[in-house]
Symmetry: C2
Subunit: 327 residues, 2 copies
């Protein structure tokens, strides 16, 4: 029997349909290709193949984390902020930022293949880039995201994330803020605070905990083994976390990825850092969060057309499985 | 230079970024596989491999169009309509309908490979199934959609579409209705009426026209060569069209698909029939439409996380190209 579940934050619906469980396809991610390694623009020694460095973590002339502008940017800081339109057709020049965070000199596919002690430097770099982008008043919203594997939209193997800052808050993100603000006005309750307390009390969707964070399978997971890292504190800005929180997040991100990679045999996946707008009013009654989305099921017409997802693995079952894995 | 464009109906934003044009990958859809043909459950003679027929168009015992329940349904009419929840976590049993429209006895991949005179029968079947589903008061919304090619989520080759009827209006669809109703209240203007008039006047995004319909590349196309069939009449219900309109839609659907298949060398694609809710109040200031979405670019983390799409082909350029094709 399938079940419809409503996302308590975004308001969207999901169909949990275990009977439609994926046929036994081969979801395994291919190992790094030698050809890709030999011409990789992100490997040390090929720094001239990327645009000039924006930031880095280094020992002398050896870098461990390196941030560069995307060579094929969707948006550029050099454009002017200007809204054109006549009330029906609206446009603006493509002002924004599109950066690449090269997360290590090693030509590996996953953050879990880097030495664990280096992960906090990577998470701190995301924080530092968002803080820097915040200084540009034209940028309304920033998303740190990662594409791993071709099915998840990756075009290069070497371990990296991207940051896109847009001059408007994306409509879907804005609606989530509005919805949470509506709950706060109507009930004087913060919906994400209630949700994390509820998840921790019930336990069935919890994978792992640290003092300030929890790894959970969300109630209305859109994809099998979708995994969130949520804060137990009332906090809307990821980029405002302190160094202790950076270390906690890095540790949970690593173990959550290890579990997902073990469970699904190294699937393609995306990671998303949802945070409050870079500029303007902070959303009320909303929390920042990290989403790990395994991309084992394709996005067919129904999902594309309605935003209504069909998920073949109940999140409680996924949580039990991930929790019991030895990592 | 890239440009941000706002979808005048849905409110979502798109980045039109021609500089990020797709690298020369091979997007060609593979020809039908002999193995798939030999075991295809939709071919004549294998009718017992599907659940019992719901409807068909036939000459005696030979069918030309056949509708069956999906063998692995996401939703079932046999469930009870009931909302469970406590104000935070909401769910309901998976009540709904999930049908498959087998569009011809021929084992072909595309509607364009069927004899043109058969297309109106297929479009009339979509209409007839939606009208029938409307009789079940528990069903709030119905989507006719088609997945062609693995990248578009197809698991079977044989030419077919699906219909999913859900007991709630999907959140994204609902917000589009709300947005159009808001325009109507604020300006006393129907936004889709204004939009089609504007597109026809400007001409640059128009591919083809018939007396009552137009084929256009939308202002804020989410994907290269995204193509819409829109009505020039003020009409929210696809399933209310008359037989003359069915013939016009079938003709435009065929020629639009021929153009897209020619332009992109038979890409994977989805077709979506967006129509008003099956039951309940009709949305005000909103029109039904058909969307053809070529799935040549994957959905990476940025699009997944924000609903903000990056499109490498400006719709005006795509329209000029499609318009000039000899079909």
């Amino acid at each position: 029997m399938s079940e419809l579940r409503r996302d308590p934050i975004a308001g969207s619906w999901v169909i949990v349909a275990p009977e439609r469980a994926a046929r036994p396809l081969d979801f395994r991610r291919p190992p790094p290709q030698p050809a890709a390694r030999e011409s990789c623009p992100f490997c040390p020694g090929r720094e001239s193949m990327t645009p000039p460095e924006i930031a880095s973590v280094r020992d002398g002339d050896r870098w461990r984390v390196r941030v560069v502008p995307n060579k094929f940017p969707a948006l550029r800081v050099e454009e002017d902020w200007r809204e054109d339109g006549d009330g029906v057709l609206t446009s603006m020049p493509g002002v924004g930022a599109h950066e690449v965070v090269i997360e290590g000199p090693e030509h590996v596919l996953s953050l879990t293949e880097l030495p664990p002690e280096r992960l906090p430097e990577v998470v701190a770099m995301y924080r530092s880039r968002l803080r820097d982008l915040q200084r540009d008043f034209r940028l309304a919203h920033g998303l740190v995201f990662k594409n791993v594997g071709e099915r998840a939209g990756a075009s290069l193997e070497h371990v990296h994330s991207q940051i896109i800052a847009t001059p408007v808050v994306p409509e879907r993100v804005h609606l989530e803020f509005e919805r949470c603000a509506g709950f706060l006005r109507a009930t004087r309750r913060c919906r994400p605070c209630d949700l994390v307390a509820r998840d921790l009390k019930e336990g069935v969707r919890v994978v792992e905990e640290s003092p300030r964070f929890a790894v959970v399978e969300p109630w209305a997971a859109k994809a099998p083994f979708e995994t969130h890292i949520v804060t137990k504190e009332h906090a809307a800005h990821f980029e405002a976390i302190d160094d202790g929180a950076v270390a906690e997040v890095a540790g949970l991100l690593r173990s959550a990825l290890q579990r997902v990679e073990r469970a699904l045999d190294s699937p393609a996946y995306n990671i998303l850092f949802h945070t409050a707008p870079l500029n303007g009013a902070s959303p009320e009654g909303w929390h920042w969060r990290i989403e790990i989305i395994p991309r084992i099921a394709g996005l067919a017409g129904f999902e594309w057309g309605t935003g209504f997802f069909i998920n073949t693995v109940p999140p409680e079952k996924a949580a039990a499985y991930l929790r019991d894995l030895k990592i």
